[in-house]
């Protein structure tokens, strides 16, 4: 079996990934017609390109069906429980930057920080009879962040898209979503909390601990590491605490 490298199958993320590897002497290209999801790697023997939706790459890494994968660090942290036990974040790639932030209506003049959000949530619950709702698709990351910062009396509501609109539509009071410039937040009359940065995400090359690391695949990994100018990642699971 070849060493399988999963990369995003379309859009800017795919192009930037190809550029990143290309700049390091590993040429990637899609093969077949432009609708066919297959690809090839030149410059390194024993490596097979697998084109996947960026959102599915964490799951494929977790199961070990791919050995390496490129996806957003936010997706790995949100979709994989105890992610350091499952994958190695081998190399941050310097593109695909997006911040996962908590945002509230700009007119909430009394809320700038998580402490304010917590106090506002308590008062909101007392006045409105339900917890303050935060719309997001990043459930694990947001919940862990709010728990760590002692915010209570909130509820997460799922929003898979157009999350900034949920507040105006009265399905949430606040949101947690990714933003790069803050433009969409402002257009929807929202503002970030000063200490509401949950994770600064970027495209990252991950290695799967659960993949089949045969001698041939380890050799391909070492060759790839040398070409990319990276240390060979340690794939044994970390000692859990």
């Amino acid at each position: 079996m070849m060493l399988k490298l999963g990369v995003p199958s379309k859009g800017r993320l795919m192009e930037k990934t190809f550029d990143w590897f290309g700049a390091r002497g590993v040429t990637m290209a899609r093969t077949g017609n432009e609708r066919e999801y297959s690809g090839a790697v030149d410059g390194i023997a024993g490596v097979e390109l697998v084109l996947l939706s960026a959102g599915e790459i964490p799951r494929e890494l977790s199961s070990g069906r791919i050995h390496l994968g490129v996806t957003g660090s936010d997706l790995v942290r949100d979709k994989l429980a105890d992610w350091p036990a499952q994958v190695v974040d081998w190399a941050p790639m310097g593109f695909g930057h997006a911040d996962l932030v908590i945002a509230v209506p700009a007119a909430w003049i009394d809320v700038d920080t998580l402490d304010d959000l917590d106090a506002a949530a308590a008062a909101f619950r007392a006045a409105h009879g339900h917890r303050l709702r935060i719309a997001t698709k990043y459930h694990r990351l947001v919940r862990e962040f709010l728990t760590a910062h002692g915010v209570a009396d909130y509820a997460l509501v799922d929003s898979q898209g157009a999350t900034e609109g949920t507040v105006k539509n009265l399905t949430a009071e606040a949101i947690a979503d990714i933003t790069s410039t803050g433009e969409t937040l402002r257009a929807n009359h929202l503002k970030m909390l000063a200490d509401g940065l949950i994770h600064a995400s970027q495209a990252t090359l991950f290695a799967a601990r659960a993949a089949d690391w045969s001698p041939a695949n380890l050799a391909a990994l070492a060759a790839l590491a040398k070409r990319l100018g990276l240390p060979v990642p340690s794939l044994s699971p970390p000692v859990s605490g």
């Binding site: 209506p105 700009a106 009265l170 606040a174 009359h189 859990s240």
Partner: protein, 363 residues
Amino acid sequence: MIPKATIRAEAERLHAAFVAAGAVPVEADILLPAETLLDLYGEDIRARAYITADPLNGEMMLRPDFTVPVVQAHMAHGADPARYAYMGEVFRRQEHLDGRAREYMQVGYEVFDRDAPAADAEVFSLFSGLLAGLGLRPATGDIGILMAAVRGLSTADRRKAALLRHVWRPQRFKALLDRFAGRAPVPAAQAALLQRLAADAPAALVAAAGPLVGLRSAEDIAARAEALLQDAKAPPIAAPEAALLYDLLSLEAPAGAALAHLRGIAPMLPAILPAVDAFAARLAALAARGIDVAALPFEASHGRTTLEYYDGFVFSFHGPAGLPPVASGGRYDALTAVLGAGRSIPAVGGIIRPGLVARLRGA
């Protein structure tokens, strides 16, 4: 691995002992409506319980503990007083592969009785007797004393409410107390916020900040802005009073000595007197049941976990390091009010993990 049959046999032995002590056996569903538990515990429970979707009934939760269904059943049609025993699996979602159990047996005993000190002592001494010979270390505490101390502070009600709301989150509680006591400086972000709030009437500031979207109303915002400005003017909690609370948070001593210490500070913090009297009555009831209260460990902060329902006596029994508590329990008077639709009854209870008992017996 201890065979499941061995664990079940141990569970049945414990359950029989609870029944012999006067408890009525009760059963609880495994699939519980998620809403009640979510409302009670908040979003944190999602990380600790398995939630599944029923196509017609919405979100359901695999029973994470028995207390809530047992209290609900009691509040709906229970006798007064009442004692219950139960046994069965509970399910705990884990976010780490560190060997913690996803499902395990619990055997429990719950007492709904208005004579609180006697009921506390009854539950603790029953557990202590059943677990004797396993070399366990007991730990006890009393969240009621801490809550009484907070209620007795000479500061604004809003500050007391904020502290009480975070009693079960020790770090957050400490941060709030540091701020209210003037031990931590006002954070820069809050200072800037206060300056802006002072500049104009809240309604004008809200209007200037852009169109208001969402359910949280201009009145909600104005009310909190006003509260913030008032709080900024309020003097810090007086140093001697704050010192007493810090002292209480770190109080760790054998129960007898802890009582003497609390009696010593009660004249300076008279609001804790009823709670200290209740503590004394409990110790007397424990002593009457043969517990050596002079040696019984006591920590005022014991039991302040995120399961927000213990509000009085709390206890646990610990085995070798690395093993979860073999047994734990406590008093949850407020929970019966929350689930009782207007009615409430003092309640105390606890659970034993028969799997851990069997493991220690086998070792």
